[in-house]
Amino acid sequence: MTGWEIFLTAAIKTVAAFAFLLTLTIILVWFERKTVADLQNRIGPNRAGPWGLLQTVADGAKLLFKESVTPRKVEFGLYIAAPVAALVPALLIFLVVPIGRPFHIGDRLIDLSGTDLNIGLLYILALSSLAVYAVVLAGWSSGSKYPLLGAVRASAQMISYEAAMGLALVPLILFTGTTSLKQIVEIQGGSFGDTFLPAWNVVLIPSFLIFFIAGIAETNRAPFDLVEAESEIVGGYHTEYSGFRFAMFFLAEYINIFNIAAITVTLFLGGWHGPTFGLGAPFDWVLPIFWFLAKSMALVFVFVWVRATLPRMRYDQLMSFGWKRLIPVSLLWIALSTLAIGVRRMGLPWT
C-alpha cells in the first residue's frame, strides 16, 4: 500500500468507527434503562420515539443546550481536560477490536477492525489505565470535597483491578502465543477435535471470569460503583460537572462498557466466529458481524443484570476482594495453566 492509501483507509475506518460507536452508545443507554426497568418492574423510557428509542438522543440534545456551570474554585485547564481524557481513550480502545471477518474489495483484503496491532493486548491494557487519569484530574481539579473523595477511591480501585486484569491475560497469551487480537480470533475458529463444541478460548474459564469481574470494576459499574455511590459521595468525581462536560463522562462510561464486553468476546468467546450455515457471498461476512454484536450485547446484558441484582460492596470488601482473592488466584492460575499447557504440548516430563 502506498502512503495515500494508508491514510485514506485510516480516514474511512475512523469515520465508520465513530459513527458505529456513537450509534451504539445511544442504543446501549436505552437498552440498559429498558432492561433495568424491566427487572425492577417498571416501564422505563417510552415517550420519545418508538419504545422510547430516541430517549438518549433527547437527553443528549438537552445536555448540549444546558448551561455548563463552572464553579469558582476549579483549576480550569485540568477541569476542561478531564472529560476529554475520559472520552478519547475509550474511543481508542475500540480501534483494535475486530468486529467481523475480513472481506475482499477487488483484490484487496479489508480487515473489519480499525487496525491490527501486534501488541493489541498491551495496547488495550495501556489505554484502559489512562482512564484513571481522567478520574483523578476531574476529582482534583474540581476543588471540592466529594469529587476529591470519589477520585481517590476510584483511582485506588481502578489500579487494583487493573493489576488483576493484566495478570488474567497471561494464560491467554500462553495458550494462543500471540497478543494480536486478529490472530487470537483466528485461532478460535473451528471446533474442538471432532466434537460439536466451538474452539473458543472459554476453556480458560478462570481467566475469563477474572477478566470480566475486573472489567466491571474498571468501568466503575455496580456492584463496584463506589466511585459514584450517590448515597455516600453524591456523584463522585463528576459532581461539579454539568451540561455537555458531564455528557462526555457519561458517553465514556458506556463506550467503556461496550469495550469490555467486546474485548471479552474477542478474547474468550470466539470473537466474530459463529455458524454461517454455508450461506454464500453477502452472508459470510454479514453474519459474523451479527454474531459479534449478539455476543457483545449478551455480555452487556450481564453487566445490567448484575447491576440490577447485587447491592453495592463496602470499600474494604472491595479492596480485599481485589488483593486477597483476585490477584493471588490469577497468579496461581498462571502457574497452573503453564503446567497444563506444557503437559498438553509435550507430554509428562517423566515419560
Binding site: 500500500m1 491514510f7 483507509t9 485510516a10 480516514a11 475512523t14 469515520v15 465513530f18 448540549l64 444546558k66 448551561e67 455548563s68 464553579p71 469558582r72 474554585k73 476529554v84 478519547v88 481508542l92 480501534l95 480499525g114 487496525t115 491490527d116 496491532l117 493486548l121 482534583w140 474540581s142 476543588g143 471540592s144 470535597k145 476529591l148 473523595l149 483511582s155 485506588a156 489500579i159 487494583s160 487493573e162 493489576a163 493484566g166 495478570l167 497471561v170 500462553l174 502465543g177 497478543t179 453524591v234 459532581t239 462526555m248 470499600y315 474494604d316 479492596m319 488483593w323 486477597k324 490477584i327 493471588p328 498462571i334 502457574a335 503453564t338 506444557g342 504440548r345 509435550m346 516430563p349
Partner: protein
C-alpha cells in the same frame, strides 16, 4: 512488512487526531450553544445544598496511596510476565521448558511473598 507495520500505527494516530477534533469541537459547540449566566450562588462548589464549609482540597487517608505502591509492583511484574508468556514456547522447543517454568515460578513466588507480607502488615485492613 514495515509499510504495513507503520500503517497500523498511522491509523491509531489518525483516529486519535479525529477523536480529539470531534471531542474538542463538541465542547466548543456546546459552549456556543448553551447559555452562560454565572452568579455567585451558582458557582459555589456543591455540598448538599448548604454553604460549603472549609476548603475544597481536604486531606485523604494515606492507605489509598499504599495501593498505588502495591500496584506499581504488580504492574511492573506484568510487564515482565508478558514477554515471558510469548517466548515460553520457543524456549520449550529448545528443550528448556522446565528451566523457564521454574524461573517464572520463583519470580511469582517472590511477588506472592511480598503480597503476603503486605497483608500480614495490615496494609489491607480498614478500621
Amino acid at each position: 512488512m514495515p509499510n504495513q507495520y507503520f500503517g497500523d500505527y498511522i491509523t491509531v494516530l489518525v483516529f486519535m487526531a479525529v477523536g480529539a477534533i470531534i471531542v474538542g469541537g463538541a465542547v466548543v459547540a456546546a459552549s456556543l450553544l448553551a447559555p452562560n449566566h454565572p452568579n455567585k450562588t451558582k458557582s459555589e462548589i456543591y455540598e448538599c445544598g448548604i454553604n460549603p464549609v472549609g476548603g475544597g482540597w481536604s486531606q485523604s487517608h494515606i492507605r489509598y496511596y499504599i495501593f498505588a505502591l502495591l500496584f506499581l509492583i504488580f504492574d511492573v511484574e506484568a510487564i515482565f510476565i508478558f514477554p515471558w508468556a510469548l517466548k515460553v514456547e520457543s524456549f520449550a522447543e529448545a528443550g528448556m521448558g522446565g528451566f523457564i517454568f521454574v524461573e517464572m515460578v520463583i519470580f511469582i513466588v517472590i511477588l506472592l511473598l511480598g503480597l503476603v507480607y503486605a497483608i500480614r502488615k495490615g496494609v489491607l485492613r480498614w478500621e
